[in-house]
Subunit: 290 residues, 2 copies
Amino acid sequence: MIQRLAVLGVGLIGGSLALALKEKGLVGEVVGYGRSQANIDEALSLGIIDRAAPTAAQAVIGADMVVLAVPLASMHALLAEIKPHLAVNAVLTDVGSAKGCWVSDVLAVWNDQFPPFVVPAHPIAGAERSGAAAALADLYIQRKVVITAHQKSSVEAIERVTQMWQATGADVRHMSVEAHDATFAWTSHLPHLLSFALVDMFSQRDDVAHLFDYTAGGFRDFTRIAASDPTMWRDIVQLNAPAISEALAAYQMQLTHYQTLLAHQDWQGFAESFNKAKQTRDQFLPLENH
Amino acid sequence: MIQRLAVLGVGLIGGSLALALKEKGLVGEVVGYGRSQANIDEALSLGIIDRAAPTAAQAVIGADMVVLAVPLASMHALLAEIKPHLAVNAVLTDVGSAKGCWVSDVLAVWNDQFPPFVVPAHPIAGAERSGAAAALADLYIQRKVVITAHQKSSVEAIERVTQMWQATGADVRHMSVEAHDATFAWTSHLPHLLSFALVDMFSQRDDVAHLFDYTAGGFRDFTRIAASDPTMWRDIVQLNAPAISEALAAYQMQLTHYQTLLAHQDWQGFAESFNKAKQTRDQFLPLENH
């Protein structure tokens, strides 16, 4: 049971968390803060938050659970602002999709002493829609939430964040910060980069309209993620740069291997690579046949 | 009006063409040939073909329209087999997704003299399902069919192939063989290669199960085409290798550019690239927001 939940950034992610906890009767009061007054008004009228705070500092006063659900690039300033106002029993967590950078922000604000009440976390939920109006009480049912506890995080704080997310119906997992950032560099950040790269390359060509005229469903699927929010993805690249650079380098080696196969007219090599890829995808993502 | 249509390879593509022409009453008799007896029996029982021929040579006898709808790698042998048996009024066309290689096959079989009755063509239709059972009379409605007439193709033969495809409801376009192969290297072949490459790379890792456990919708979209038929795609890579190699090299330069941005911590460079990509995709594929 959370007495007072402070949600800083009441969008799809933060708003859905508040709605889920309210629906279960697991939260006393939800206080919201956000920079967009229109979005905060929407969150109030939808009953996502009970009260709007005029500043982040005021939002966290008296809250026993503080969730930072703002863009990664805004975390550092927000942490510095709320630090002096956190309650003695507060647990502080976030929802950022890269974790090493958030730990660095925490360390920078707390003079390199990671506080025991801080627990980094990352709910894996779609970002197709945004804003409080998109929030859903059932967004997290059977979705994964990765908690990347720090060595200095207390067992009690980890347990409170774990229970909060489990209450939303989420499948809570635990991982180190490094494993998290490497994993998502491969499964999410690299594919986004590759998709953006292809469409950007098209955009630079004189015949871009002709090319798009002859795209079909496969191209649409492959480039769907290139319609993602460019600012959010610039931030992710910046804030998970080492892991992304490593994954990208490995992918470049794979493409160099393909060029070698082409130069040697090694069509059997392509057959082997394509067969392995198809078998692997069919094995791990079997519910769709394409 | 086609008196006798010979369909060599009665799968989704060839079968759907036959069904569409039958539905419009534009074909007298459809003769089918294929290596799989079970598939041919299915095509007969579904009324896709009126008669099955025991050999390709016998299938084309007396046919005024001959459509080759077999895998690209099987075209050369088939052309050599049917050449002596084609009727004097026959028009010969194909449905291959790479055109330069088919023209080469025709030239090889006809001793470097491209025959005026031959017209290469490529219907752009999904290949998720296959076989005669998947054929649909309305498959080509509003789908593009690219005709890549040779300089030696006769106006009359081009017109007959054009009318045949227009009768199916297709949007018929004309392009040179070179423009066709370059266009589809960019819009189809390269994305398939990139998607296969990513999943193959995953398959080589010890933590492949862990990685797939943390994939989400974006990864599924990006890698959907990696579940395509490996043999068909090996053939396409082989048969459009020069154009694919060129597109791949340009893509590798784009990734090298990204590595340079990472090394220089040029996050604004990523913002510009991602913005251009998103704007371009939203402009040309506006019907989906993601």
